[in-house]
């Protein structure tokens, strides 16, 4: 399954994140964060890739702008963005 249209979910509030999705043939994930280290950004990218795989997504460009979100929030926002992007 591939992302068929641009979508997003979340906010830039503290403890939240913005997830932006765009159609793409392969998977590309980019995470930026105002509050965490580059190591943590890599962890977010790995988490997003894992969740995309679980959701059966084989094509998407994902940009994550983190503002100190818990992993469970990252997963929830990604899920919402995916369902909005494949509608």
């Amino acid at each position: 399954m591939k992302i068929s249209k641009k979508s997003s979910a979340g906010s830039l509030e503290s403890s939240d994140l913005m997830v932006y999705l765009e159609p793409m043939d392969t998977i590309k994930v980019e995470a930026v964060s105002s509050v965490s280290t580059s190591q943590h950004q890599k962890e977010i990218e790995a988490l997003v890739k894992k969740e995309l795989k679980k959701a059966g997504i084989s094509g998407a460009y994902v940009k994550v702008q983190d503002n100190g979100a818990l992993n469970l929030t990252i997963k929830a926002r990604l899920k919402t963005a995916i369902s909005r992007g494949i509608e």
């Binding site: 979100a69 818990l70 929830a76």
Partner: protein
């Protein structure tokens, strides 16, 4: 001793991860994750996904987790119920605008379906109908007694006054009859009864006054919209020193009578029957809770 009570149920907007993740630190007896009024129509899906994940993965401690879903006639209703039941650790669903026993049955059927689908303990998720229309008030006993899953009913003052075509005042005279009716229905159905919110978070004196009123009417707790409202409400619901002493005298006398095989007991010259003993246990439990805080 674990004593389950609902003096305060704290509303938390469903699309706010910062508040949701801290839900159990404010000291409320229960939290009410909201999918209805505090969530914008185009964010209902996001709030649903977020709440489901919070319940599933955040290990909340010593707090009752309830979720207010969207009303039965909303396109979100079934999806709300499905996703939050699937989260697996939910205590109760608050049903807004419950206007009849049929409304409760509709929710009950869905919970039955998804409890089975997600292999959860049957009957573990409770229902808290919200009475917030004139017809709901009139039918409140029918609603309160319509399902074994109901262990509390609640009144929603803002929607009720809108439905009545009047303004909600601080004094609340316009909903006094409705409050009394809802309490009576809850008592008849033997379930808890939770009062509406007090909207002015800066008026602690007004909050205390209103809590004293609703406690005297028979409410067992109150919904709150700000953590600052929790302590004053708990203080109003705290039993007096004399009440606590009486409660422990009753419990001791009952246990002694039980050991001695006596059926009839009296404390301070008054006969103690099961409802009085139950009240004593409630007061003792409340005293225990106050000691912990």
């Amino acid at each position: 001793m674990k004593f389950k009570t609902r003096r305060t149920m704290l509303y938390i907007p469903g699309n706010n991860p910062g508040m949701l993740q801290l839900a159990d630190i404010f000291g409320a007896d229960a939290v009410l994750f909201d999918l209805e009024d505090s969530v914008a129509p185009n964010e209902k899906d996001a709030a649903r996904d977020l709440i489901a994940n919070m319940i599933r993965f955040r290990e909340y401690e010593n707090i009752e987790i309830t979720v207010r879903v969207n009303p039965i006639d909303s396109p979100c209703f079934e999806r709300d119920v499905k996703e939050i039941v699937a989260s697996g650790k939910l205590n109760a669903i608050r049903l807004p605008k419950a206007n009849s026993a049929k409304d409760v049955k509709t929710l009950e059927k869905l919970i039955n379906k998804y409890e089975k689908e997600y292999k959860l303990k049957p009957g573990s998720i409770k229902i808290h109908p919200m009475i917030e229309t004139a017809i709901g008030v009139i039918r409140s006993y029918e609603i309160a007694s319509s399902s074994d899953r109901i262990d509390a009913i609640t009144i929603g003052g803002q929607d009720l006054t809108a439905n009545m075509g009047v303004s909600k005042t601080k004094e609340g005279k316009e909903i006094l009859w409705a409050r009394s009716q809802v309490v009576m229905s809850a008592k008849a159905a033997n379930v808890d009864v939770i009062d509406t919110i007090f909207a002015d978070i800066n008026d602690e004196e007004g909050l205390i006054e209103e809590t004293r009123l609703i406690k005297s009417l028979g409410f067992t707790g109150k919904a709150v919209i700000n953590p600052r409202q929790i302590k004053p409400i708990h203080a109003v619901f705290a039993p007096s020193k004399d009440e606590v002493e009486w409660a422990f005298e009753v419990i001791d006398a009952y246990e002694k009578a039980l050991k001695e095989g006596r059926g009839v007991i009296a404390v301070r010259g008054k006969m103690i029957d099961p409802p009085v003993r139950k009240r004593a246990q409630r007061i003792a439990g409340m005293a225990y809770l106050m000691e912990q805080e």
